[in-house]
Symmetry: C2
Subunit: 192 residues, 2 copies
């Protein structure tokens, strides 16, 4: 894959994300994507066999970006607790800084596009798994409550996603203090 090709793909991704954030999946026509990314409709179909496929690919793209952002350069010497704070701070940060992606992923996740059996590929890219691993580590080292990891994960991720939504929809103004506070609440809940 040459640079040109990557650029086109990224350009289409970026335009699509913006449009879907504004108009939703079905308010976003292929013609709109073409116009916004300065390519023709034909070009989009050169890179992606269908709109559905484009959307799937964007989903994987977003997941990857998130995952890379969260787990980049974690200092192995820090305590588990401080890792916990850093990771979930980044998690929320990412969503708030990449509103298009957040909006897209939320729409995707609760839409029929998200075929829950279709997860072969995402199994290995899926940020959830890395986060699960991190939570498992906490359980095994006795830092977190010994509960089903999905329970812990819900308490962590759910709370932060909900917080990010509220910021996004203007129900709360963003303050770093708030973010620290909610992670603190979650930590208090899940720690042993």
């Amino acid at each position: 894959m040459n640079v040109q090709l990557i650029d086109k793909r990224e350009g289409i991704f970026s335009a699509t994300l913006t449009l879907i954030h504004e108009n939703g999946f079905h308010g976003t026509a292929m013609s709109m994507i073409a116009k916004k990314s300065n390519v023709s409709i034909g070009t989009i179909y050169h890179y992606f066999p269908s709109k559905d496929n484009l959307i799937q690919e964007i989903y994987y793209h977003c997941k990857n970006e998130l995952y890379n952002y969260i787990f980049e350069t974690i200092d192995k010497n820090d305590s588990y607790k401080s890792h916990f704070f850093i990771i979930f701070q980044r998690f929320t940060d990412f969503y708030l800084k990449n509103v298009d992606m957040f909006s897209f992923m939320e729409q995707f996740y609760s839409s029929p596009y998200n075929d829950h059996s279709y997860d072969e590929k995402s199994k290995y890219l899926c940020h959830d798994n890395k986060i699960y691993d991190f939570l498992m580590e906490g359980i095994h080292s006795g830092q977190l409550k010994d509960k089903n990891v999905h329970i812990l994960s819900s308490a962590c991720i759910g709370g932060l996603v909900s917080f990010a939504k509220k910021v996004l929809y203007g129900k709360v103004e963003y303050k770093e203090q708030y973010l620290t506070e909610i992670i603190d609440i979650i930590w208090t809940g899940v720690k042993k």
Copy 2:
């Protein structure tokens, strides 16, 4: 509004909810709704001026159902903590027992249908407000941490919605024990 009319409306609501759960907003054509609810397309347009309006009305309908279910017959003598457990247990229960509504509301909430300025009507029906009141009560009586109510609300509702989704999508099997555990985690986090 006579009984007939209410029945028709409810029938259309119910059919639409099922279809949207299966096919999403845009996979659900008016003709499909007509067929499933055993009325003609014309009849739907007699009751609802447009598909958008139908969807808005269903949203209000769902919110009301949820709100009625959660706050029905709360024994004022119980402690705040046990109210907390009952309310959030019912909250999750409702979603798991009314999968169609849950799926619909999640899709709606993160879609452009949900115009966040259009909340005049929902302000007074919105379950969030009742839940906020309940959380505020906890803050003022010294049972909950004295934090911004949106922070507390995110920690509570977010965690449970995420849990409900996991059950729905088959990532965790439902156990009453799990529900108790996650509410316990949340309670530990938000209590003073």
